[in-house]
Symmetry: C2
Subunit: 346 residues, 2 copies
């Protein structure tokens, strides 16, 4: 017991004297050991790009060494970290909230687009326009306190299931991407989600599902309004006013607003991520830009005109994006070829 | 050597298995040892409130224990972490930029309020109205890239000096507050600056001066616009459009946007911090709300009608704020009585 106490004291003293844990972990031997964390990746150029980048930016002897405090890695969510088909999960949430809302405000039952949603007619719902969807988003995501919203999302996540796998949405994260995030964190990178969808939504589960705390989630954001409830207690009400549209050019703008530094690493899967990857790449020094290509109908989905596949308007991987990736040295990840397995339950 | 390697491996393995370093550090003995970190505080109710709060929220046996991931502490900057008299340092920066700007755009020399600033007439400058100051802010903080702005601020900070102490502004942080932030961090709290002034400005020096990384600085924010420079490279240009006014009700709103959790700890010094403290206090469980009262003419300044002192319109500590503090159990820190020394160089 004495011996253990000694070690513990040594450990505490050592920790107290150290600036950060990651700095400790960046010896070459450790990096090699951690590379086994990418267990769901097949050997190939994508896996190699990740290993090479981490080695060159964490080895103090490397000319491309990056100081620990500058190790910022950003990840798009839908289609990059988890399934986005047949519809973004937050949009599913909004649609599922419509009946609850209609029970509270019966007048909505006769009002479009709510009537269509309530009809349950899948074909008609699939044809809703962007302004229709925006109306649904505003109606279902605003007018409540921040805490009420959190509680509703938690409840939904605990029961809503994806139609294809009949699993909770939170089970449908890509295991290889979970491994990349862990691997980067083990090498001193701070991981951020930069999502085009609502940051308040993702923040509800980001810690539990990705190990990413709420304050490291950047996303589209509605304003909140500070005020006092009936009991005089301070509350924040979610307002129908867009503060931040975190898509396309909004991604680097959102990164500047919320993180304040240019990323070293950026992962995406669609044209909505293009500017984030461009901005990351323009920073000089070693940078890692990667795009997930959905080309695996068997195990997940295949879509995007870059592969001559149908453009589903969800997570569009265009030919222009593919060309830019080749020109700028971004690495395209083939789900089919680069990923040994897709989900943890595979 | 063998022995050391063994320990090193044990250390690494132990670290890898642990969720966070702070969790390790929260034994009662460690907390006691760390209390000596508050060396610049006199014994008294303010110091005691900090010690009691940390003890009760980090002791697993305490009914008020707070899980490490929820340990969020927010700090106003001007007047709370460093000197705000006779003028906010960022306002000094903006005024100092006017001659540079006028050299680039000579037409400004005949335009108010720039003409007044260029005259160097201190009395006239002190009488500039809020709209005048806003014009100066917009002219000096926008129209350049994010990197150009960073470089300008760095240059200014390296040379601009406070008229009273003839020291760099970055030397004028309050040593007792530096100690509180370190003490909280050593106990697993994540520290954030929540400033009414510009977050881009504070982010330039927050890591070096406070040990707080840019992504943990929340403040008033101008929009940026993503585009491409003459060389085709992606750039972010600072725009004359206010995204976030991080004062008063804007503080809890900014905290929700940027952090996404309610703080456990909030320090401020003026009516601009009132809503942040109210919001923090309304969260239930153990919370620590503290206000710095400037009542020390000898070593710093004394101002604020709460003490029958002149209202300087900078960092106003009103009687109403003082009354709310007493009613809601917030602790008022007397610089004169609670702080053994004010600055590191004292």
């Amino acid at each position: 017991m004495k011996r253990i106490d000694m070690n513990r004291r040594v450990l505490l003293a050592t920790l107290a004297a150290l600036p950060t844990v990651p700095a400790l972990l960046t010896t070459a031997a450790t990096v090699q050991a951690q590379a086994s964390q990418l267990a769901s990746w097949n050997d190939g150029p994508a896996k190699q790009a990740i290993l090479d980048f981490v080695r060159s930016t964490t080895d103090r002897a490397s000319p491309e060494f990056v100081r620990p405090e500058e190790r910022i890695a950003t990840f798009d969510q839908d289609g990059t970290l988890w399934v986005e088909h047949p519809m973004y999960s937050q949009m599913m949430y909004c649609l599922d909230r419509v009946p609850v809302l209609a029970a509270e405000k019966p007048a909505l039952k006769d009002e479009e687009p709510f009537r269509t949603v309530l009809s349950g007619d899948r074909e008609a719902i699939a044809k809703l326009t962007i302004p229709d969807l925006e109306k649904i988003i505003v109606a279902t995501l605003t007018g409540m306190t921040a805490e009420e919203f959190d509680a509703e999302v938690k409840k939904w996540l605990a029961s809503a299931r994806h139609p294809r796998w009949n699993r909770l949405y939170t089970e449908l994260t890509y295991q290889p991407m979970q491994e990349v995030m862990s691997y980067l964190r083990a090498n001193g990178y701070k991981t951020f989600i930069v999502t085009g969808f609502g940051q308040d939504f993702v923040r509800v589960y980001s810690q539990q599902i990705y190990g990413i705390p709420p304050e490291q989630v950047v996303g589209s954001a509605l304003a909140t309004k500070y005020g006092y409830g009936k009991d005089g207690k301070p509350i924040l009400i979610k307002e129908p006013k867009l503060m931040l549209n975190d898509n396309d050019a909004g991604k680097p703008e959102g990164i500047h607003l919320m993180i304040g530094r240019r990323p070293r690493v950026a992962f995406g899967n669609s044209t909505g991520d293009q500017q984030m990857l461009e901005y990351t790449g323009a920073g000089g020094g070693a940078r890692l830009m990667m795009l997930v290509l959905h080309d695996d109908t068997q195990r997940e989905y295949a879509y995007g005109p870059a592969q001559g596949l149908p453009d589903t308007k969800v997570g569009t991987f265009t030919q222009a994006l593919y060309d830019e990736a080749r020109k700028d040295g971004w690495t395209v990840i083939s789900m089919k070829n680069d990923w040994k397995r897709i989900f943890a339950f595979d």
